[in-house]
């Protein structure tokens, strides 16, 4: 394995440890789950529950136990969904979240690539202007608001799509569209600017001078070099998309991990939040690792550095 990859792998481990420390610390600073599980119960009952959940131990002990268990892939049992393992609850919902995220990313790329390339090639024309305007609009809208607006438009006003849910392909459309408005504008901008940079370069001019067809110049020669920043940003955006999925899932009542985490946070269900955040972080870290690997393919120079 190349030293580059080894370095990345080590970094991956550090990130994972950091993520678990941060989730553990923030959660425990934010409140007492026992008071929330039984808000109107006498203290004697609470003490009993606190003991049963292991919350009476000092924090370092709880953290050591948490890390130890995490290594074994055991996040403990949910406080709220009693009897069920936290990782089970998360894994059960993971396919939904991944589907939503991947579809949104695909949709975003499907829009960003052609439109971005087109506006770079036809710089300053109507399509470019329109795209720039849309980018501006898309980036200024919070996902939450976009989601509700799309619901009002397609669900309430025109009645062509279900308002919420996840039980038909039609129901998948709105959340996917919502989530991709979150990421498409940025990708579009990246495609456009890196294409602009590349098509001014000598080798593109040479290719054109050799009489290579315009579409081949753009898609084959220019895009491969322009894709580098796009790959980086796509990797980074994947993490943001998973974050955006939290909100989108809540708005559209999608049964995914994000929504599980949101309600677990409200219930101070530590094991579920930790399992959820940890597994999402794992995905983000792995995607970024993949991006690094992809780099090696796209730009062999990295190997030398």
């Amino acid at each position: 394995m190349s030293p580059f990859l080894v370095r990345r792998l080590v970094r991956l481990m550090v990130v994972i440890l950091g993520v678990s420390l941060v989730t553990f610390a923030i959660l425990h600073a934010s409140g007492d789950p026992v008071s929330l599980i039984m808000p109107e119960a006498p203290e004697s009952d609470r003490a009993m529950l606190r003991h049963a959940l292991g919350l009476h131990d000092p924090l370092p002990v709880q953290f050591a136990r948490f890390v130890g268990n995490t290594v074994m892939g055991n996040f403990g049992k949910s406080f709220f969904h009693h009897g069920q393992s936290a990782s089970g609850l998360v894994l059960e919902r993971m396919p939904t979240t991944l589907l939503l995220t991947v579809l949104s990313m695909a949709l975003a790329l499907m829009v960003a690539l052609p439109v971005g390339i087109y506006s770079a090639v036809r710089r300053g024309r109507a399509v470019d202007q329109l795209a720039t305007g849309t980018v501006f609009l898309g980036q200024s809208m919070p996902v939450f608001w976009t989601g509700i607006m799309l619901i009002l438009l397609f669900g309430v006003q025109w009645r062509v799509l279900p308002v919420s849910g996840w039980d038909s392909w039609a129901a998948v459309l709105l959340p996917t569209a919502t989530l991709s408005t979150f990421t498409a504008p940025l990708l579009l901008r990246i495609v456009r600017s890196s294409m602009l940079e590349v098509i001014g370069l000598d080798y593109v001019r040479t290719a054109r001078a050799k009489g290579v067809s315009e579409s081949l110049v753009i898609w084959r020669h220019a895009l491969k070099n322009a894709a580098l920043p796009l790959v980086t940003v796509t990797g980074l955006q994947f993490g943001l998309l998973l974050g955006g999925a939290v909100i989108t899932e809540t708005v559209f009542a999608v049964p995914g991990v994000g929504r599980l985490i949101v309600s677990a946070i409200r219930q101070l269900d530590f094991p579920v939040v930790q399992a959820g955040v940890f597994m999402l972080a794992m995905i983000v870290v792995s995607v970024n690792f993949l991006v690094d690997v992809l780099y090696l393919y796209l730009n062999p120079q990295i190997r030398i550095r």
């Binding site: 008071s35 069920q84 397609f154 039609a170």
Partner: protein, 508 residues
């Protein structure tokens, strides 16, 4: 461009039409809740959203009708034999969804399942509700006795939600399956499927002893976001949503597809004051705080009129309510005078906490009104989790008072609010830290340790006069439960916040 747009819409219509445009089938009722309980097992959770589903699948010994009067359910009659023994006659021939006939064994099993006699740690979070029951005795096939450790006047209230579950079935399938995939009761609807975070689907039970409910299918959807719930009810995706906030009421009232139904519920708002510390150790300051709040203005302006001012924390619907005791009027002048008399002519600084995020504007109005008369409030708002942390772990010392609400556990009895809020024994709730009213503990104990209702009533009357004078808190109002309902369904909000959907009917 325009043509493309029209085409896009047409395609969307084709794709989405199937599920979106199809209105709910006539015999299906769809209810939205913000979440589902972790289990369908009615004894193993403490969630309002779970109770609302459970009551439509299970029966308890007693039921309350829409006017909140007791009605026979699985028990046809009941009486006390002495101060600690209650006799219940069971309904004959009641069938569980799996065809088994309900017996006295099932009743005993249900209680023992929660009481777990002899066990140190109880697994049911509902144990506290019925811990007063010492023994469940089967007398004959149709008679059981419940024996309490001491006179327990709240017993009937506690039995209104205490579902009877099938012994044989649970022993066969186990607790886990009973709560998730094999839920069986005697109620109007039986279990069909539960898709996590999506919906619970129920179907009318042919053998239900009351007869068949008007709606064949009952679907309880899980939609966490209120704005989404509103969009769903406007488009017919759901038929009933709960907890409609004041600002949304006008819109849903005038919408062609929906109407609004509300009822005062057993949830009282109050500011509990720390009587251990200055300045609220002085009665005059506490009274001043009560005079300082314009409750009517807040109810009208901030709560859409959906509230009813109360004199103390005991509400008109609860047993023991004393109508003679009148609410504090709004009188800022008097408040300033009392404050001066108490030794604070230039006002005083206090801190108030709240974890009641849904009522943030109300909390802000209260603190503003107190500040105006000279009780200058440093208001701190927390999310409920951190709020409890701050409040309970510091024994309430982080603050001079706490704005919150108490739901009585839906028990229509003065004890259900007086004991937790004002009793100082360790088993009490916030009263044990904040309240220091001489003689109050004794009166509360007296009223809860007899079954003699006139005697209890007298004690509660005395208590309400005492706390109106001593003002251990700022007394505010009772909240309303507000439902938005599709016009194709006939139903009305209940004072106990139940969704007893057996009463729901299709319109026309």
């Amino acid at each position: 461009m325009k043509r493309w747009f029209a085409l896009a819409i047409a395609v969307l219509a084709l794709v989405g039409g199937a599920s979106a445009a199809a209105a709910q089938a006539k015999d299906t009722l769809v209810v939205a809740l913000v979440s589902h309980a972790p289990t369908l097992d009615p004894h193993m959770h403490f969630e309002r959203v779970g109770i609302l589903v459970n009551i439509n699948m299970f029966d308890s010994l007693l039921h309350k009708n829409a006017k909140l009067a007791y009605e026979p359910s699985l028990a046809t009659s009941w009486k006390t034999l002495n101060d600690t023994t209650w006799e219940f006659k069971l309904r004959k021939g009641v069938k569980f969804h799996n065809g088994d006939v309900m017996t006295a064994e099932d009743v005993k099993f249900s209680f023992d399942r929660v009481l777990e006699p002899g066990k140190e740690k109880k697994k049911s979070p509902q144990y506290g509700n019925i811990r007063a029951i010492k023994e469940v005795r089967i007398v004959d096939a149709d008679t059981i006795h419940l024996i309490t450790d001491k006179p327990f006047p709240l017993l009937l209230e506690r039995l209104v939600f205490f579902p009877i579950v099938p012994k044989k079935h649970i022993e066969k399938v186990g607790d886990e399956a009973f709560g998730t995939t094999a839920t069986v009761g005697t109620g109007p609807w039986k279990f069909v499927e539960w898709k996590r975070d999506q919906h619970i689907r129920l179907e009318a039970f042919d053998g239900h002893w009351r007869g068949k409910p008007a709606f064949k299918n009952l679907i309880i959807r899980n939609i966490p976001e209120v704005a989404t719930q509103i969009a769903e009810i406007k488009t017919g995706g759901v038929d009933l949503i709960r907890n409609v906030s004041a600002d949304l009421v006008p819109e849903l009232k005038s919408h062609p597809q929906t109407y609004v139904s509300s009822a005062p519920i057993l949830r009282v708002h109050y500011v509990e004051l720390d009587m251990r510390e200055a300045p609220f150790d002085k009665k005059l300051v506490r009274q001043a705080a009560n005079y300082a709040i314009d409750k009517q203005a807040i109810i009208q302006k901030l709560m859409g009129g959906l509230g009813q001012q109360v004199a103390t924390v005991v509400q008109p619907a609860a047993f023991g309510f004393e109508p003679e005791v009148k609410p504090f009027p709004y009188d800022p002048k008097k408040a300033r005078e009392l404050l001066a008399q108490a030794g604070y002519p230039n006002g005083v600084d206090v801190t108030l906490h709240s974890g009641f995020v849904e009522f943030r504007p109300v909390f802000e109005a209260i603190t503003q009104m107190l500040t105006e008369v000279g009780i200058r409030v440093n208001a701190r708002m927390w999310d409920p989790g951190p709020a409890w942390n701050k409040f309970l772990q510091a024994e309430g010392k982080a603050t001079n008072g706490y704005y919150g609400s108490w739901g009585n556990y839906s028990v229509f009895d003065a004890d259900a609010v007086l004991h937790p809020l004002y009793h100082t024994e360790p088993g009490g709730w916030i009263g044990k830290w904040y309240t220091r009213v001489e003689g109050l503990d004794k009166l509360i104990d007296e009223a809860r340790s007899t079954l003699n209702q006139p005697q209890r009533k007298r004690a509660y009357s005395q208590i309400q006069k005492l706390i109106r004078e001593e003002a251990p808190g700022v007394f505010l109002w009772t909240q309303y439960d507000t439902l938005a309902i599709s016009k194709r369904v006939e139903y009305a909000a209940r004072g106990d916040e139940w969704l007893w959907l057996f009463d729901a009917r299709p319109k026309r």
